[in-house]
């Protein structure tokens, strides 16, 4: 790990994190930090524990040992509403009631900031309008989610997370069910949001997309982080063999310059 010496500013980190399902340990003694204002992509083969890690970071999964630290405090000991004001989450299995419109969905993002004494305000309205604009959904605000394309729907969900106005944004495979064009739409939206200083941590299945859209990769295998750092620095044929058990040749994308995999074959 090349970043071992410099300790980057990171509001979210893990300390000796141990995550398990029943008797099965998924992640053990993980010490990881997610640099502020960067897009971090967690990559690795199926079953490597990347979604479990994200669930742990999002306090969906209580650790067996160790802790996830948000601003230095154990995320599981912080009031969940307070966490929701700092960390927004887009899970993989999103579901919305039939007929719910885009703007209705996005309004939910304001919930962590509302309470008995602070109901719906003008500020909330402006923030929802802003989220609609960022996700380029103004024209579709009153459309129902089930009448839209997968990419539009996913942008609406991300807009909800944006309306939450948190410094951190967690996304679990935000493009998993989308075709190429819609994937691009969603990743570009995520990049736009990162430009405003939001720290993004996402699980990404497709390594090429991760290399292109992330500043920082966390490569996981069998519950361990085997490499972490900027994609062009850490991605090597050896790492890919270790991760996926395949041989490949690395090329630079002629347009973006980011690594792409060619000639993939079984090791």
């Amino acid at each position: 790990m090349s970043e071992e010496h410099a300790v980057p500013a990171a509001r979210l980190r893990t300390r000796g994190l141990h995550l398990a399902y029943g008797d099965a340990s998924i992640i053990e003694d993980m010490n990881l930090c997610f640099p502020d204002a960067q897009v971090t992509a967690i990559v690795g083969p199926n079953g490597c524990g990347k979604s479990t890690l994200l669930a742990g970071l999002a306090r969906l999964h209580a650790p067996r040992g160790g802790a996830v630290l948000l601003d230095g405090k154990d995320i599981h000991r912080l009031p969940t509403r307070e966490v929701a004001r700092r960390v927004a989450l887009l899970p993989q299995d999103t579901q919305a009631p039939e007929g719910m419109t885009v703007s209705e969905l996005i309004r939910f993002g304001r919930q962590p900031h509302q309470g008995w004494l602070r109901q719906w305000s003008d500020e909330d309205r402006d923030i929802v309008a802003h989220a609609l604009a960022v996700a380029d959904l103004q024209q579709l605000a009153q459309r129902s989610l089930d009448s839209m394309s997968g990419g539009q729907r996913q942008r609406a969900w991300i807009a909800m997370a944006i309306a939450q106005q948190t410094p951190l944004l967690l996304l679990d495979e935000p493009t998993s069910a989308l075709d190429l064009g819609h994937q691009l739409e969603v990743f570009e939206l995520i990049r736009r949001q990162a430009h405003t200083g939001t720290t993004v941590i996402m699980v990404v299945h497709d390594l090429a997309s991760a290399c292109r859209f992330a500043d920082n990769l966390v490569a996981m295998h069998a519950g361990r982080v085997i490499a972490q750092g900027p994609p062009d620095r850490i991605i090597t044929p050896e790492l890919i063999r270790e991760l996926y058990g395949v041989e490949c040749t690395l090329l630079a994308d002629p347009v973006t310059g980011t690594p792409i995999l060619a000639g993939v074959r079984r090791a």
Binding site: A58, R59, L60, T80, R81, E82, V83, A84, R85, V87, A88, L89, L90, P91, D93, T94, Q95, A96, P97, E98, G99, M100, T101, E104, L105, F108, G109, Q111, P112, Q114, Q142, R143, S144, S147, A161, Q164, L170
Partner: protein
């Protein structure tokens, strides 16, 4: 699809319309009856222009408590149905279908068999029974394969209700005195209830209302999935438990005084969602006028269809509700919540 009810103003219009319809039905329930007191005489009595003692008794001592009972029971059952459907994410979750009413019925039957008859005791007993029923429903709904399939949950509920009704029947066989009292009550009716019984259930309804207001925002967020709700800072387990207690308070109180009235908790939220969209916050508001509207409307029908006698309300709501259930199940695709 953006229906009229999904805007704030649209909902206001729908709500007012339902309120006006409810006011008309309430008035009609004071005027129309199976007995000798006709609508004209009842109206004169209401306006204070008649000194007929019998009419006075019929309108103020029989029909008025009955109407108020219908208001309370309708609101309680409609809201309870909508809540149960939101918390199980199942459009078919209805207190009567899932064994919540049956649980409360069995509890009351046991209490009667043990010699109880005080109204207030019965309410808390019925609420405990309803709570037990609710927790069973929740456990079933959280079971893999059952919760994700609305029809399976209803099947599980039907089996559970069947078991509870069998136990209740067993009690009926054991004790003749109990049998007569329970059989009358088991049909479900808002007729012949006293003002005392109406006021006896109000504290429970108020408590349930407070509980609902405490978690309504979180409950709405749960419709976006458990993980999303956690991400928004809610606590799903706590929300579900609170809702279940509120449902038990409502269904238990209603069942204790009116017996099990089936299908109100299915039909009313179904209509409310159709009019207001699927956000539970709007649907619940609309259940408040729609529930009593349905119960009182059905109660009026029950007085006139077989004049001069009356059809029990529970029988009538089942006859009206069963086709709605079939319609929901036969729809191309069950609406997801």
């Amino acid at each position: 699809m953006t229906n009229a009810g999904s805007t704030r103003a649209g909902l206001g219009v729908t709500f007012c319309g339902a309120g006006i319809a409810l006011a008309i039905v309430c008035l009609a329930s004071l005027l129309i009856g199976a007995g000798n007191t006709g609508a004209d005489l009842a109206l004169a009595t209401l306006l204070g222009q008649s000194s007929n003692e019998e009419a006075r008794f019929v309108v103020y001592e029989l029909r008025l408590p009955r109407m108020l009972m219908g208001l309370a029971a309708g609101a309680a059952l409609g809201v309870a149905g909508a809540l149960l459907q939101a918390v199980t994410r199942n459009p078919l979750a209805e207190p009567g279908l899932l064994g919540v009413s049956a649980g409360s019925g069995l509890a009351v039957a046991i209490a009667i068999a043990l010699g109880s008859s005080a109204t207030t005791l019965r309410i808390s007993v019925a609420q405990l029974g309803a709570l037990a029923g609710c927790l069973c429903v929740l456990a079933a709904a959280r079971t893999r394969g059952v919760g994700s399939d609305p029809i399976r949950l209803v099947l599980a509920g039907a089996a559970f209700s069947g078991l509870l009704f069998a136990l209740t029947s067993l009690l009926l066989l054991l004790d003749q005195r109990t049998a007569d009292e329970i059989r009358f009550w088991l049909v479900g009716s808002i007729a012949g209830r006293s003002m005392d019984q109406v006021t006896a259930i109000l504290p429970s309804m108020a408590l349930a209302a407070v509980l609902i207001l405490l978690v309504i925002r979180s409950l709405a967020a749960l419709a976006l999935g458990e993980r999303t709700a956690v991400g928004l800072g809610h606590r799903p387990e706590l929300v579900r438990l609170t809702v279940v207690v509120a449902v038990a308070l409502l269904v238990g109180a209603t069942t204790a005084v009116a017996g099990p009235i089936a299908f109100i908790g299915l039909v009313v939220p179904f209509a409310a969602r159709a009019l207001a969209g699927s956000d539970i916050r709007r649907a619940l508001w609309l259940c408040l006028p729609l529930g009593p509207l349905t119960v009182i409307g059905a109660d009026i029908l029950s007085r006139v269809v077989v004049q001069p006698s009356e059809l029990p309300l529970g029988v009538l709501t089942a006859m009206l509700g069963a086709p709605v259930l079939v319609a929901v199940v036969r729809a191309n695709r069950l609406p997801s919540l």
